[in-house]
């Protein structure tokens, strides 16, 4: 069990391309941290540097207080689960899980005890004699996790472990991984491009983009208080709506004015924060779930919003409505009972307590 520290970590490839541009991160003991971001953001490279599979260009990595920069992977006491599982195809499930222990010359009885224990946790005891080829995707995933568990390492590293599974299995295995972590409590670094996976699994989420960390925080904080435009747009599904706008009025009655003239009043308690930006171009962001048909009792922070639906997607529990505003696609999540049809104007309610204002010059959320 151990904490992991990254200090000014840089990975540059030949030709000067920087995949990771100096990141700092402290991961506490027993913590489950998820690195999330679009492909090419440097999250996998970071994980592979922690594993020792990529050399570090500069900076430091410490696991459990020991600097591991120059320690080869086998001596770092880590275990890794790969996207394609990387099970040894010629070995049985038992041998796959036992391999690391065999190489470390553990006694036979101890190996058997540990493998059986891991198999019990993962519910794969009946598969131990099979070859990986005879397993389903979900079972292979469990074996790959079992291989990590038996080692009882300081840190688990997961590299997009669920990407090769179909949607239904992915949800199921997500729960499974969370359950395993609650049982074994090993410090975990988990890489994914799927923000839902990140939100559901993580104690803390690390959002990365272009080789830098955009924001670190618990899932709820990232959702409610994104720090940058990138995080605001990346977290949440469907993604947050953005529209260019202007701030008008004064500190007491601030309004967000959209290019088509719609004016949305800013809640009073946030007015002071935005006052310096009056008259400047800004970007307003609001999530589809805060753009609804409902008329809640508290009328103060609700702004009316005219729209003409162009595409309607009934999802069962809700209905997604897409419309265009000055060339920007805007989505809203409506109650499924709400009658909407294409081309018929409706009035939506924007929850102004949940909107975000972004300075386009810095892309920071104000």
């Amino acid at each position: 069990m151990a904490q992991v520290s990254l200090r000014k970590l840089v990975k540059a490839y030949e030709g000067g391309v920087q995949a990771v541009k100096g990141i700092d991160l402290e991961i506490a003991d027993h913590e489950f941290v998820v690195l999330v971001g679009p492909s090419g953001c440097g999250k996998s490279t970071t994980l592979r540097m922690i594993a020792g599979l990529e050399e570090i260009t500069s900076g430091d990595i410490a696991i459990g207080g020991t600097l591991v920069n120059d320690i080869p992977p086998r001596d770092r006491d880590i275990a890794m689960v790969f996207q394609n599982y990387a099970l040894y195809p010629h070995m049985s499930v038992f041998d796959n899980m036992a391999f690391g222990l065999t190489l470390r010359k553990f006694p036979k009885a101890e190996i058997k005890r540990r493998v059986d224990e891991a198999a019990r946790i993962l519910d794969i005891a009946m598969l131990l004699d099979r070859k990986p080829k005879a397993l389903s995707g979900g079972q292979r995933q469990r074996v790959a996790m079992g291989r990590a568990i038996v080692r009882d390492p300081k840190v688990f590293l997961f590299d997009e472990p669920l990407s090769n599974l179909d949607a239904k299995l992915r949800v199921q295995m997500r729960t499974e991984i969370k359950k395993v972590h609650q049982t074994v409590k090993t410090t975990t670094v988990y890489v994914t491009h799927d923000q839902i996976e990140a939100m559901t699994l993580a104690d803390r989420v690390v959002v990365m983009n272009h080789g830098v960390i955009e924001q670190v925080g618990p899932p709820q904080e990232l959702y409610h208080h994104p720090a940058t435009r990138f995080v605001a747009g990346f977290i949440g599904s469907p993604a947050m709506n953005f529209s260019p706008a202007r701030l008008e009025g004064d500190a007491h009655a601030l309004r967000v004015v959209l290019p088509n003239g719609t004016a949305l009043p800013v809640p009073e308690h946030r007015a002071a924060r935005y006052a310096p930006y009056v008259g400047r171009p800004i970007l307003v962001g609001i999530r589809p779930e805060h753009l609804t048909d409902k008329k809640p009792t508290d009328k103060r922070n609700i702004a009316d919003f005219p729209a003409i639906p162009e595409v309607i997607e009934p999802m069962g529990m809700e209905t997604l409505v897409h419309f265009w505003m000055d060339g920007h696609e805007i989505s809203a999540r409506l109650d499924p009972t709400c009658p909407v049809s294409v081309g018929v104007p409706i009035t939506l309610a924007a929850d102004m307590d949940q909107m975000h204002i972004i300075d386009p010059a810095t892309d920071k959320v104000l």
Partner: protein, 312 residues
């Protein structure tokens, strides 16, 4: 590979001591790798590169290998009619044999591809037999079939009222006989290569083309051939190299006769260098194969590299 020396000045280590294990790990890795590849390197250098250089040196010596006569051996060869016969025969043999092998191989691969998959294995197994028998030995069988008095081929020809053919007695018949045996031996290889290539063309492409209204000829012309072009050219060029340098069949079937008219470079080099004992001139004869081989090798290498890039 990037290594630690690229690193910017680093702050003092978290834990004090910093062994450079990772770097040592990488350096040890390339040392181990080099040691693992060393035997291969020795084979390539000692048994290919060195003999190649030595062969060039040998070809500049006189018969007794006591004096360097520069290009003397080449000049003598250039003035010899037999040598030009050999060059001519080598080219005719290689070009016509490879052409026929490629054609027959392509046809058979296509036919094999069209029969139900269940029977393909059996047919493939039968048709590859000529390639499996060591050519020196199967050529013995052909030699016997071409025997002037007992020819079993002539027996069959006679049944169809075709007069007996002096297979190994006349220059052009002997040349044809050599080509026939080489085609018999090599066509199965082309068939197998083309069959593998045909099987690698995704079925959906044919289905899409059929829906687009392509006839079977158009499918061959616009899908099969372009998809196979690379394998076809690699196989043809490779076979050109091997056929051009062939020795076994000529040695067993005609041994160069009649009147040295069926010699190819390899058998002539053997004749001159080993049997007649003029090592330097023999070395010069075989070196004459180099230009042709080099051109083919260049294009094979290009084809293979291109193929690798496509697959990535």
């Amino acid at each position: 590979m990037a290594d630690g020396t690229l690193a910017a000045p680093r702050p003092a280590a978290i834990d004090g001591t910093r062994a450079n294990g990772m770097q040592r790990f990488a350096r040890r890795r390339s040392t181990i790798a080099f040691l693992m590849a060393l035997p291969l390197l020795l084979v390539v250098l000692g048994l290919v590169a060195y003999p190649a250089g030595y062969g060039i040196y040998l070809s500049t010596l006189n018969r007794r290998m006591t004096a360097n006569i520069g290009l003397g051996n080449y000049e003598i060869l250039f003035d010899s009619d037999t040598f030009w016969d050999v060059a001519f025969q080598s080219c005719v043999f290689a070009l016509s044999a490879v052409f026929l092998k490629a054609l027959i191989g392509f046809w058979l691969a296509h036919m094999l591809h069209h029969i139900p998959a269940k029977g393909q294995r059996k047919w493939r197994g039968m048709l590859l037999v000529p390639w499996v028998i060591p050519p020196a030995l199967s050529t013995l069988g052909w030699w016997w079939m071409f025997d002037p008095t007992y020819s079993s081929i002539n027996y069959i020809l006679n049944i169809f009222a075709v007069p007996s053919v002096p297979w190994l007695g006349e220059a052009w018949w002997a040349r044809s006989a050599i080509i026939i045996v080489n085609v018999w031996y090599g066509a199965p290889f082309f068939m197998i290569m083309y069959l593998a290539a045909l099987k690698s063309v995704p079925e959906q492409l044919y289905e899409a083309a059929a829906i687009d209204g392509a006839t079977s000829w158009q499918r061959l012309r616009y899908i099969t051939l372009p998809m196979m072009a690379n394998i076809i050219s690699i196989t043809v060029l490779f076979s050109l190299i091997v056929t051009f340098a062939n020795y076994d069949i000529v040695r067993v079937l005609t041994n160069g006769g009649p009147r040295d008219l069926t010699h190819v470079f390899a058998s002539y080099a053997f004749q001159v260098g080993i049997l007649a004992g003029n090592i330097p001139r023999g070395a010069a004869v075989s070196l004459f194969m180099v230009p042709m081989l080099a051109v083919c090798a260049f294009f094979v290498l290009r084809g293979v590299t291109r193929r690798n890039k496509e697959q990535m």
